[in-house]
């Protein structure tokens, strides 16, 4: 028996979301009294992979096959399920990130395994069945999913738990899944990465702004605040719809879902569709001139005030804090 986690490496580094998945897998393994094993597909250095030992991983199955350097959902599904069989895994853990959201349901079918998409807590085991909580109705409620099959697939929501690092190095073992060239169907033509910015989906701190800013020319202080904090910037749909901000910044029901430690919302009313994408944030700060703005009901801290006045003060105060620590 074992718990297998799927880990992705990007530009030589293990993705943050994957570290969380591996940590989650180790915690599940600990609870079951079994080993935490990881599978990695594509190029990665043995040194980088060995660091997974710090989050409780015992063994890494590494398929260095260059065909895996680009994500292909069909081929990856075959390879990960083969790894699950090699490791004798009863539980397979992935991040509920861009690739995981597709790989996990495919694995669930291939392994005939019950699947919970977007777990927010560790599972509770009761004999052969496990119960895992996930958010439903765009964050308006949560639900307990009971997984009754012998094999189980869990995709864990990014930022649901903070990995605690310990000492230790994982043992890295070569893994050669049996895949034919015909299993790979997609040819990557190129990527368009937003450089010099923190990707919103990975950010721990987010500064977001909406129509209350009155125009795209007023985003300077928002960007500066984000820079001082080391935060990513986001926006409401009302703002990206009129091209004040790029579409990839739009969060909410029809945009990205973020779960940062801190979400600062400036001049955003807090419509239910916006909240659906941000209400998993640990701490929400709202700055709005209207004391009746619905966002205050979802906020931990609020300032009733004008963005033009409050944001420059926030920049100054955070600078002071950074200087003192």
């Amino acid at each position: 028996m074992a718990v297998l986690s799927f880990v992705e490496v990007s530009q030589g580094k293990i993705k943050k979301a994957s570290v969380e998945a591996a940590y989650y897998g180790s915690k599940v393994a600990e609870g079951l009294g079994t080993d935490s094993v990881v599978v990695v597909l594509g190029a990665a250095s043995a040194d980088e992979l060995a660091t997974l030992g710090t989050v409780g991983v015992k063994k890494v199955l590494h398929a260095a096959d260059a065909r895996f350097n680009n994500f292909d959902s069909k081929a990856f599904t075959k390879a990960v399920s083969e790894a699950a069989n090699v490791a004798g895994a009863t539980v397979v853990v992935l991040s509920f990130n861009q690739n995981g959201k597709l790989l996990a349901p495919r694995l669930s079918v291939r392994l005939k395994a019950a699947y919970v998409p977007g777990a927010v807590e560790l599972p509770e085991f009761n004999g052969a069945s496990a119960t895992v909580k996930k958010n439903v109705f765009s964050g308006k409620a949560s639900a307990s999913y009971q997984l009754n099959t012998e094999k189980k697939v869990i995709a864990v929501n990014p930022n649901s738990l903070s990995p605690v690092r310990g000492a230790g190095a994982a043992e890295v073992e070569a893994f050669a899944p049996t895949l034919a060239d015909a299993d790979f169907s997609s040819v990557v033509k190129g990527a368009d990465l937003i450089v010099g910015e923190i990707p919103l989906s990975e950010a721990e701190l987010v500064v977001s702004a909406g129509r209350g800013l009155k125009g795209p020319e007023n985003w300077g202080p928002i960007e500066e605040l984000a820079k001082v904090l080391g935060a990513a910037t986001a926006c409401s749909r009302a703002v990206s719809d009129v091209d004040w901000r790029p579409h990839h910044e739009h969060v909410g029901q029809t945009g990205l879902t973020v779960r940062p430690n801190l979400y600062i919302a400036v001049g955003i009313s807090g419509a239910i569709q916006h909240l659906a994408g941000v209400n998993g944030s640990k701490v929400i700060v709202v700055v709005n001139t209207d004391p009746e703005a619905p966002f205050f009901k979802a906020a931990d801290y609020g300032i009733v005030g004008d963005a033009a006045v409050v944001v420059p003060k926030l920049i100054e105060e955070f600078k002071k804090l950074k200087a003192a620590h």
Partner: protein, 246 residues
């Protein structure tokens, strides 16, 4: 080109969510049901655009009971050619995917376009499951899709940007925003929808992989701590010392 679009029925986002039977069942009382937004706005409209350009047929499939007819007719009014309803109350995503895959096996589709997720269970499941059941390639979080000579050029969301890939048909796509502009059905479409074929089929027996044992509503509304705009330093102190997030 023959395209299949699975459509789901979901509670409108503004609906108040409530549960019955000791918090084990979702209560449909007073809830307005709509076609799942990503299915309607992006998957269905892109399918229709491709058909308009290249010819072919757009079929919508829905797994649900007779009370979903309004949603199916709306899809036909927007421009789908015909519809199939699998007559069953869906139990989980695996069940829904199995019904869709089963239908697809008998029809030889070039393309299946699903929405990225439904807004009720937010699970991102059906597209990927259907693809695996049919052993087809699949791309999710798709923002652009062009098809030429049987090859799809697809732009999808990745961490911190987008990636463009080429894949030969047949394949499954999970659509998200930017793939198309939502269309509002016009009078001609609404009239025409009434006479378009809607075939009702029985469901195949499928095992149930997951069971929802209970729902939980947030314990209480958050209590917002207000800070004066003249004392912004206090907010920064609270974030540092109390919330410990900076």
């Amino acid at each position: 080109m023959k395209i299949l679009v699975p459509i789901a029925k979901v509670p409108d986002t503004t609906s108040k969510i409530a549960f019955t039977d000791n918090n084990t069942k979702f209560s449909p009382d007073g809830v307005t049901f709509i076609m799942n937004p990503t299915d309607e706005w992006y998957a269905l409209v892109r399918a229709i655009e491709l058909k308009e350009k290249q010819g072919g047929e757009v079929v919508v499939i829905h797994v649900g009971l007779a009370d979903s007819e309004q949603i199916i007719r709306k899809a036909l009014a927007i421009g789908a050619d015909r519809a199939v309803r699998v007559d069953a109350d869906p139990t989980d995503a695996y069940f829904v995917a199995a019904q869709i895959a089963n239908h697809a096996k008998s029809e030889n589709y070039d393309l299946i376009i699903a929405g990225k997720e439904t807004i009720d269970y937010n699970s991102y499941e059906v597209g990927g499951m259907v693809a695996e059941m049919l052993d087809l390639p699949c791309v999710a979080l798709v923002q652009k899709l062009e098809i030429e000579n049987g090859v799809a050029t697809i732009t999808r969301e990745i961490e911190g940007g987008t990636e463009t890939v080429e894949i030969k048909l047949p394949l499954v796509i999970c659509a998200q925003k930017e793939l198309a502009e939502a269309r509002i059905p016009n009078m001609k479409g609404i009239m025409g929808a009434r006479t378009k074929p809607l075939e009702v089929v029985t469901a195949d027996a499928t095992e149930k992989l997951t069971v929802i044992t209970g729902y939980h509503l947030p314990e209480k509304a958050k209590e917002c701590k207000y800070v004066s705009p003249d004392n912004v330093g206090e907010l920064v102190r609270l974030l540092h010392e109390e919330a410990k997030v900076v």
